[in-house]
C-alpha cells in the first residue's frame, strides 16, 4: 500500500517544484508509473479475503479493482485537462493538478481503509476537492448551484451515517472490517433499529445515486470540467456502491424486508433515467443520466445480497467507470471545439473527425452493454440474480436494457451521423493527446474481457 501512497504524496513536490514547461510531462509520467505499480494489488494468491501488512490499510478483492481504477484514472484526468488549462496562470494549473492528486489520495485511503470510520472520513474528504474543482473551474454560472446540490445532498445523507457508525462503535467496540464479518447477526427489531439500518445505507444510496435522490448528479456532472466529470462518473459514484457492499455485511437480517423500497426505486430509476436520456438535448446531461441508470442496476444487485448480485455489481462498477469516463472525454473533445454541449449543434462529426467516430462507436457500444465487454457481463449477472430474487424485476430490467440500447444509439447517431452543420466544417483536427486519452480508456475495458476474474470479488 505504501508503495502507491508515497509516490502519490510525492506528486505534490513534483507538481510544485517542476519547471513550468515540464509540469504536465512530469505529472503524467509519475502518475502513470503509480498506475503501473497499482497493478501489483491485483495479485491475490490466497483464498482468504484481505491482504495487508498492517491493521489500518488493506486490500481485498472488492476494493482492489476500484483502487486500480482510481490509480488508472489520475493520469487520464491529467491528460484530459491539459488543453483547457493551458491559458491559465502556472500556479492555478499547479493547484488544479494538486486537487486531482489530493482526490486520488483520499480515494486510495477510502478504498483501502479497514476501519469504517476511516472510510467515512475519507468518503467525506473527497467532497472538498471535487467541490472546489466544480465551482472554481466549471464553465457556466450554474456551477455554483451544482456545487451546492452536490455538497448538501451528500452531506445530508452522510450525517445520519456518522451517527449510525458511532452507535455501532459504542455497541460493538470496533468497526474494523476484519472482524465485522464475523459478528453475530444483529437482531434489529425496534423502529429505532430500522432507522439505524436506513441511516447506514442512505449516504451511499445518495452517492450512487439512487433514483429518488439523484438530482445532484446531472448538475454536478454537467457543470464540472472534464477531470471533475471523469472522477465523478468513474470513481466517486463507486464509493457509494463500495460503501453499501461493506455495510451489507453487518446489516444482514433486516435487509430482506427493508430493502424493498430501495430496490423498487433503483429499478424504476433505470426506466425513468433511460427515458430522460432519450429526450436530452445536452450531451453531458445525457451521459450523466445514463450513469444514474447504470448505478441503479448496481444498487439493485447489491441490495439483494446474493453472490452473483455482488459480483455483477463490482463488474458493472468497473466497466461503467471506464466507459462513462470515456464518453465524457469524447464529449469534451467536442465541447473544446464547438464550446457547446448541445447535440444538435455538433452533429455529423464523422465527416470531419472519422477516427474519433471509431472511439465514439466503441464507447457507445460499451455503454449499451455489448457482449463480450464486461459491461454486459455485469448487467447480465445482476439481471439474472434479480430474476431469481423476483420474477417481476425482469420486466423492469429488460425494458431498461432496451432503453439503454436506444439512448446509446441515439447518442452515437446524434453526434456522429447526420448532416454536418455548415458552421462547423472547419474544426481543429483531433490531437494525439485526445486519441491517447480515449484508447487508454477503451483498451482496459477490452483487456478485461480476457481476465474477468480480477473483478469477480470475493463472492464468486
Amino acid at each position: 500500500m505504501l508503495k502507491i501512497l508515497i509516490p502519490t504524496l510525492m506528486l505534490f513536490p513534483t507538481i510544485w517544484l517542476s519547471p513550468a514547461k515540464w509540469l504536465w510531462t512530469t505529472s503524467i509520467a509519475q502518475s502513470l508509473v503509480i498506475a503501473l505499480a497499482s497493478l501489483s494489488w491485483l495479485k491475490w494468491s490466497s483464498e482468504t479475503g484481505w491482504s495487508s501488512s498492517n491493521l489500518y490499510l488493506a486490500t481485498d478483492p472488492l476494493s482492489t479493482p476500484l483502487l486500480v481504477l482510481t490509480c488508472w484514472l489520475l493520469p487520464l484526468m491529467i491528460l484530459a485537462s491539459q488543453n483547457h488549462l493551458s491559458p491559465e496562470p502556472l500556479n492555478r494549473q499547479r493547484t488544479y493538478i494538486s486537487l486531482l492528486v489530493s482526490l486520488q489520495m483520499f480515494l486510495i485511503l477510502a478504498f483501502g481503509a479497514t476501519e469504517i470510520i476511516m472510510f467515512y472520513i475519507m468518503f467525506e474528504a473527497t467532497l472538498l476537492p471535487t467541490l472546489i474543482i466544480i465551482t472554481r473551474w466549471g464553465n457556466q454560472t450554474e456551477r455554483l448551484n451544482a456545487g451546492t446540490y452536490f455538497l448538501f445532498y451528500t452531506l445530508a445523507g452522510s450525517l445520519p451515517l456518522l451517527v449510525a457508525l458511532l452507535l455501532m462503535q459504542n455497541d460493538s467496540g470496533t468497526l474494523s472490517m476484519f472482524t465485522l464479518q464475523y459478528t453475530q447477526p444483529l437482531y434489529l427489531l425496534t423502529w429505532g433499529d430500522k432507522l439505524w439500518w436506513a441511516a447506514c445505507l442512505l449516504a451511499f444510496l445518495v452517492k450512487m445515486p439512487l433514483y429518488g435522490v439523484h438530482l445532484w448528479l446531472p448538475k454536478a456532472h454537467v457543470e464540472a470540467p472534464i477531470a471533475g466529470s471523469m472522477i465523478l462518473a468513474a470513481v466517486l459514484l463507486k464509493l457509494g456502491g463500495y460503501g453499501m457492499m461493506r455495510m451489507m455485511v453487518m446489516l444482514d437480517p433486516l435487509t430482506k424486508e427493508l430493502a424493498y423500497p430501495f430496490i423498487v426505486l433503483a429499478m424504476w430509476g433505470i426506466i425513468m433515467t433511460g427515458s430522460i436520456c432519450l429526450r436530452q438535448t445536452d450531451l453531458k446531461s445525457l451521459i450523466a443520466y445514463s450513469s444514474v441508470g447504470h448505478m441503479g442496476l448496481v444498487a439493485g444487485g447489491i441490495l439483494i445480497q446474493t453472490p452473483w448480485g455482488f459480483t455483477g455489481a463490482i463488474i458493472l462498477m468497473i466497466a461503467h467507470g471506464l466507459a462513462s469516463s470515456a464518453l465524457f472525454c469524447l464529449a469534451n473533445t467536442s465541447y473544446e471545439r464547438t464550446h457547446s454541449r448541445t447535440m444538435l449543434l455538433a452533429r455529423g462529426m464523422q465527416m470531419i473527425l472519422p477516427l474519433m467516430t471509431t472511439w465514439w462507436f466503441m464507447a457507445s457500444l460499451a455503454n449499451l452493454a455489448l457482449p463480450p465487454l464486461p459491461n454486459l457481463m455485469g448487467e447480465l449477472m445482476i439481471i439474472t440474480s434479480m430474476f431469481n430474487w423476483s420474477y417481476w424485476t425482469l420486466i423492469l430490467t429488460g425494458l431498461g436494457t432496451l432503453i439503454t440500447a436506444s439512448y446509446s444509439l441515439y447518442l452515437f447517431l446524434m453526434t456522429q451521423r447526420g448532416p454536418l452543420p455548415s458552421h462547423i466544417i472547419a474544426l481543429e483536427p483531433t490531437h494525439t493527446r485526445e486519441h491517447l486519452l480515449i484508447i487508454l480508456h477503451l483498451i482496459p475495458i477490452v483487456l478485461l474481457i480476457l481476465k474477468p476474474e480480477l473483478m469477480w470479488g470475493w463472492c464468486f
Binding site: S45, S86, T141, L427, E453
Partner: protein, 148 residues
C-alpha cells in the same frame, strides 16, 4: 425548391468568419435562460485570443506536428513520448503481461481441481461425496441435560 434556399445565402455568409481552423462559436448575444447553460459565459475575456486551443491562429500553423500537449514543440514532443511510453508500453503492455502471468487468482482453479480430486478419491473409496454433518457427531461433547 433549391432556388428558395438562396435567400439564406446572405445570412450564411455571416458564418464564414474564419476559413482557417478555429473560429470561435460562442454566442455573442446575452445568454437567455434557455440557451444560457450550453454556451460559455466569457470568464476570461482578456484571453479570448488564445483560449481552449482555439487560438485565432491554430497551433498546427506554427507546429505541423502538434500533438495537443504544449505550444512549445520540444515539450510537446517529449510529453507525447512520455505519455505513450508510460501509458502504453509500460502500463498496458508490461502491466498486462504481469497480470496475465499472475498465479491462480483467488485459488479458483485450484479449488476446482481439488474438488474433482476429492470426488474421484471418495468415489474410489465408495464413500458418499459429502457427509451430512460437517463435524463428526461422536466427537462433540455436550453438557448433560440436568447439570448447571
Amino acid at each position: 425548391m433549391l432556388a428558395r434556399l438562396s435567400r439564406f445565402r446572405p445570412a450564411l455568409a455571416r458564418f464564414r468568419t474564419n476559413p482557417a481552423f478555429g473560429a470561435r462559436f460562442v454566442s455573442q448575444s446575452a445568454p437567455s435562460g434557455a440557451a444560457g447553460s450550453a454556451t460559455v459565459s466569457d470568464l476570461q475575456p482578456s484571453r479570448a485570443t488564445e483560449s481552449h486551443g482555439h487560438a485565432e491562429v491554430s497551433a498546427f500553423e506554427k507546429n505541423r506536428d502538434y500533438h495537443g500537449f504544449s505550444q512549445d514543440p520540444v515539450v510537446d514532443e517529449w510529453n507525447m513520448r512520455m505519455a505513450f511510453f508510460f501509458g502504453i508500453s509500460m502500463a498496458i503492455v508490461v502491466g498486462g503481461t504481469f497480470i496475465h502471468y499472475l498465479p491462480d487468482h483467488g485459488m479458483r482453479q485450484w479449488a476446482r481441481r481439488e474438488a474433482e480430486r476429492l470426488i474421484t478419491q471418495r468415489e474410489a473409496a465408495g464413500l458418499l461425496l459429502m457427509e451430512e454433518n460437517y463435524y463428526d457427531p461422536s466427537k462433540i461433547v455436550l453438557p448433560g441435560a440436568g447439570e448447571e
